[in-house]
Symmetry: C2
Subunit: 191 residues, 2 copies
């Protein structure tokens, strides 16, 4: 088992691209090697089997989807109004949509998790943490809305992103902003 960390990360990122681009069906060691531009057989050396690759991809996706400190800092400077929440939600949707392959890979992984208990455990943990962090941040900053509001935004916006990434013509990409705004308007109480 090889240990070069940069190379390992590069392989995992390649796996994410493969997952998004070719689906779980296309995720093979060879495909990862090709995507990463390394010689055939390399991924074999870094991951004991396909399962290990999936689990590590599962962790990595969330790591990359996380907002940076910059976004957090910016949020702290905003007034505690519904308009700010709207802005933050737009930002989040933009950010995630911008890393579309990450979100699609996560969807693929969710479906895989149906059949792989270990992967399910990892994803559940990551998502719970993520959601809880969002709730805590929201409450601590004193933005309008409670924990329930955050959960609802989580639900609505996740499917909005899913829709726009998988079947963009259902709503039309132009309606994204409008729908985000509507979600916030309905879910977050005015202040």
């Amino acid at each position: 088992m090889r240990q070069n960390p940069e190379r390992r990360t590069a392989l995992i990122d390649a796996a994410i691209e493969v997952l998004a681009g070719q689906g779980a069906r296309g995720l093979t060691f060879r495909a990862v090697d090709n995507q990463a531009g390394v010689p055939i057989g390399t991924a074999s050396n870094y991951f004991a089997n396909r399962d290990a690759l999936l689990v590590q991809a599962g962790r990595r996706v969330f790591q990359r989807l996380d907002p940076g400190a910059a976004v957090i800092g910016e949020a702290l400077a905003l007034p505690r109004t519904r308009a700010s929440v709207e802005r933050l939600m737009h930002e989040m949707v933009e950010r995630i949509t911008g890393f579309g392959s990450g979100f699609l890979a996560m969807l693929e992984l969710r479906l895989e998790a149906t059949r792989r208990p270990e992967l399910r455990k990892v994803l559940t943990e990551q998502i719970r943490e993520n959601l809880q962090a969002n709730i805590d941040f929201h409450l601590e900053t004193g933005m309008p809305g409670d924990a329930r509001s955050v959960e609802m935004l989580y639900l609505a916006l996740n499917w909005l992103i899913t829709e726009q990434l998988t079947l963009p013509e259902v709503f039309g990409e132009g309606r994204t902003k409008e729908l985000v705004a509507a979600a916030v308007d309905m879910i977050v109480p005015p202040r």
Copy 2:
């Protein structure tokens, strides 16, 4: 190309189960044959190729997810209140969750649609119709809320179902009812 319609339907339904159970990766003619309990090679005789099978599965899922006339009739007899909407939404979530393999298959198909224009066309069409029918029904019956409310419920409840079917421990299955109720409370205006 064989034409026996019952058998064809049985094969497509088998394909849906395979999609849900083993993912797009596992969807092969052989797997479908096994699932349907017919001799190996049968699916080959009914579908020109894997694509055709996917597209037909795409249509079938929606056919089976459709509420029957019974549900429609029941809805018409309800008072035009938020409580009724809540009840209808519970019913819908129950119904879809009850055909979990159908919903999961649809998710798999969505992801496949990313790479298959024809499948994307079929799914987009089905979903637009479906959503529009929901909106029309809602408006015509005079239930509280407008088109926007229906879209929001669509967003939130779809992801709720996704969450419960793929990573049930994130929220816990026990919270489904509560979350549906919360969604309706926030999204549908009181009347």
